[in-house]
């Protein structure tokens, strides 16, 4: 390819009017990059540990010679505790992503 051919080819290829990116387009890319760079959310370990402790306590109590009324009270508390922990952990997770 001689100089003239190269010149023609480059002029043709770059001849079209290039449309610059708008600030909104650049902003969208930058915003997406910031979100992408955040570390992946991890479920709060304390919620799993607390939930596990509730269940373990329940099992231990069931195996112990404690009266049935005690068992009932603790079982209800463990159930309520476990039910409350999941939404609480989800809330923490969502807040940490903001």
């Amino acid at each position: 390819m001689n100089d003239r051919d190269l010149e023609r080819l480059l002029r043709e290829a770059l001849g079209a009017e290039a449309r610059p990116m708008s600030e909104a387009q650049v902003g969208e890319v930058v915003k997406r990059a910031a979100v992408q760079a955040r570390p992946a959310p991890r479920f709060p370990l304390w919620a799993i540990a607390a939930s596990g402790a509730c269940l373990a306590g329940l099992v231990l109590l069931a195996l112990s010679p404690a009266p049935e009324s005690w068992f009932r009270i603790i079982a209800v508390m463990a159930m309520v505790g476990n039910l409350a922990l999941s939404p609480l952990a989800a809330l923490v997770l969502v807040r940490s992503r903001r």
Partner: protein
């Protein structure tokens, strides 16, 4: 067209991978217009080219972690854009719209024009995959029609060094075009 500059590409890539706003802003500035030109040549449609550029950059955000530097950054972006162009062609085919609709009032594009457009896209890809000083020298010499002396003044080099730079730039461009022709 405006020719933006990219600082150190390695530094830029590290910034992109870290999700730094400044790095992504710099990428958009450096390659946004070239990416548009690339997509425009391959679709012939300004609006589609604009969309493809944006989709390509957003896909680049998702995929930058996997970029290993085997190809120049712009070549990698063009690889993503090629898939987006293919998607656009499929979309148009489904709607029975020829890809070339914007060129000649809905007439199918003649093969010769099609090949020329593909060649122009390849030139854009090859040119922006070159080191920046090569690209600036080639554009100044062949697109802006400057003499070697003026190119030397613009690049702050001696006449002899500029001649040598232009020769190496030409060689690199032609080699890249040959490589891209083989894809």
């Amino acid at each position: 067209m405006r020719l933006s500059t990219v600082g150190t590409e390695l530094g830029l890539i590290a910034g992109l991978k870290a999700g730094e706003a400044e790095a992504w802003r710099e990428l958009c500035q450096a390659y946004g217009e070239a990416l548009y030109l690339y997509a425009y040549h391959r679709t012939g449609d300004a609006a589609a080219a604009d969309d493809i550029r944006q989709e390509t950059l957003l896909a680049a955000v998702e995929g930058i972690g996997g970029y290993r530097g085997e190809v120049p950054l712009f070549g990698w972006l063009c690889g993503i854009a090629r898939h987006k162009v293919a998607d656009e062609r499929r979309r148009r085919a489904r709607q029975s719209l020829p890809v070339e609709a914007a060129w000649h009032a809905g007439d199918p594009l003649p093969d010769e024009l099609w090949e020329r457009a593909e060649r122009h896209a390849a030139v854009v890809e090859a040119l922006w995959s070159l080191p920046e000083d090569y690209r600036r020298a080639l554009v100044a010499r062949y697109v802006e029609g400057m003499g070697v002396e003026s190119v030397a003044a613009r690049l702050n080099r001696s006449y002899k060094a500029t001649e040598s730079l232009l020769a190496r730039a030409r060689e690199s461009l032609l080699r890249r075009l040959k490589e891209e022709g083989g894809k």
